[in-house]
Subunit: 421 residues, 2 copies
Amino acid sequence: MELHEFFLLLAILLLGARLLSEAAARLGIPSVIGELAAGLILGPSLLGWVSVNETLEILAEIGIILLLFEVGMDTDVYRLAQAGAKPVVVAVAGFGLPFVFGAGVSLYGFGLPLIASLFIGGTLTATSIGITVRVLTELRRRSSDEAQIVIGAAVLDDILGVIALAFLYQFAVMGEITPAAIGRVSLYIVLFVVLAPVGAKIVAWVIDHYDRRSASPGLLVTMVVSLIMLFSYLAHLVGAPLILGGFAAGIAMGQRFQLSVAQRLGIPFTSALNRILAAAPALSERLEHQIRPLIHVFTPIFFVMVGVSLNLSAVDWGSAFVWQLGTVLLMIAFAGKWLAGYCIRETRLRQAVIGLSMVPRGEVGLIFTQVGLSNGILNAELYAALLIVIAFTTALPPFVLKWIYAKWGHDIGLAMDSTTR
Amino acid sequence: MELHEFFLLLAILLLGARLLSEAAARLGIPSVIGELAAGLILGPSLLGWVSVNETLEILAEIGIILLLFEVGMDTDVYRLAQAGAKPVVVAVAGFGLPFVFGAGVSLYGFGLPLIASLFIGGTLTATSIGITVRVLTELRRRSSDEAQIVIGAAVLDDILGVIALAFLYQFAVMGEITPAAIGRVSLYIVLFVVLAPVGAKIVAWVIDHYDRRSASPGLLVTMVVSLIMLFSYLAHLVGAPLILGGFAAGIAMGQRFQLSVAQRLGIPFTSALNRILAAAPALSERLEHQIRPLIHVFTPIFFVMVGVSLNLSAVDWGSAFVWQLGTVLLMIAFAGKWLAGYCIRETRLRQAVIGLSMVPRGEVGLIFTQVGLSNGILNAELYAALLIVIAFTTALPPFVLKWIYAKWGHDIGLAMDSTTR
């Protein structure tokens, strides 16, 4: 593709995303639905003006990584630690239930081959953290207690999903899975999750030091973007999803990181450390201000590309089998995540909100189906059934969540948030 | 290339650019030299870690387009109009002298084929507006009177260069050039230059209107980025360089546009129009604030990629012919642009500064040589000689300009600037 053609494409994409998300917002529909719809309209599902290409894929991925960076900056590590085992329970239950029932129904109910059934189960395990975060942000709930659990669980789910995909793929190709390999990858990822924010924090201090002394402007934003890219690469190296790198870098850059760590260690706020810590909030603020325009430009590309990737014209809408399988899997996909919310001790409303927030499959589900399709594990009918599942699980929860918050948002269960944004 | 590999590449590229530009600034060297050096080091000239690929090319082009957008925003249309014929004279002389002497020496002095000689002449006509603007910005001279002339002339030079390339290419392929085609393209470009800012201005009013009313953040920056991309596409459609679209959009968004037009038309500032115009400076300010982080992240990619494209390992450093041709062309390249500065009525120092500012060939020269090489018009030796010319013309003027401003910047000739930034 020539340069000028790409620029026209990018203009149409950004313009379409903004027009439809503004229109959605005016109609009271979650704006992320507008961006997904822009992708469906511009993509092969309808007009066919935009198709997936390498550069758009890279820009989209930068978009979701930057969004996760922002989420990381806003994540209160202390409160996340206080939530304790809850995100873990939600993630594991929300991973296990759809996987077991999805694969089981495919294998025994529909008589599909083992490896295809496992891939279908794998697709149902995914959680699109992007969709979830956008909806919670729009409802000004991203810093709420339930959002902390959801974000923690969704990040874990993404890690579980990437590991599952790697091993299912290995199983499909080699015919066996080695438990040692699973253990090694898990260990690497745990090490990354623990060490990355500490490493990024040290880099942040260096950047802050030089940014205050630099004569040329723009040091902060370019260095932080490099850091985010580098950490995404490292995340991939240890076998984790790319977005985990952005999230880890964000946690380190957030002002809540220092305070959390200091409180945790019981360091009195008069200590020498305090002076170092006190400098950091200023860095976080300067950074948020500068990185936001990048997020505004890049994240719509991501959501539009999810819509573009969801090629609904590939679905044989007349096939009874596609609809039967699709409907059954859709029910499992909904129920599996929703029930996961009820596995932790919370108010009924919060359990519902947490479970529903985990339902969108979005891009993560699409990656599973794409890998399955391009390796011949899924045929066109199975692919079509999964596209139905992904489309409905992605599009419906934002509406339901918005409705629940509108109706019961001020009730006791959801009004206990210590902060709302 | 896989996503994570690209992100590592991008991290290294941004990090290298920033490290070397900071180091350069500390040593008193123009920082753009640091970024070009980063490209030389990371590219095939030395390490070979970074090579030109489609995505990097697109990101680099976005960088230079955004930089030209910023330059456009700062351009005072009224003062540019006051400069009158000066930029035109500098551009035409700086185009004609190197072309005629470059092609003539190649054809008669070195006995090269006609079409190769014309391509060599064409390469020498280019002016890298990016390098020039960066150096003037760093010296806080971008709003000076001489900078207005240089920017006007460099933009015109870019237009002349693209037209020349298109017609030389046509001549190389078809063996003839039709004057009617030249006239048509020139007319289109003039129409674009006149109409684009007006069109962009109308769009700006609409964006401003909705930005003030939009519930979701980021409308301004995403819409303006779309507008810039769209105008770059339109610029290409009429046969002009892509960056002209960014420049035209920038002129329309700048706060000086309204005032200039209003003053020009003699509209009293108590008129109804004044209220509309008064709203725009606020838009310009909000926009500059939001678009700057994007410029900081994207423009280094451009300058590094210029360094990467300048593959010095392709030069046969032992060839006497390459050095002879290279040296002669280098002298023509320097003298041709420098003398162009003396074709207008200005103080001696300003004439020198204006001429020298036009010397860097940078990316525009590289495009000429790349087209010539890939079409078999230039062989490896001619390509090598031109790379020498591009390397020296690009690297030397920033030093000389910095030295002149340091030595005589406060003298009468250069201290008459109405504004400095």
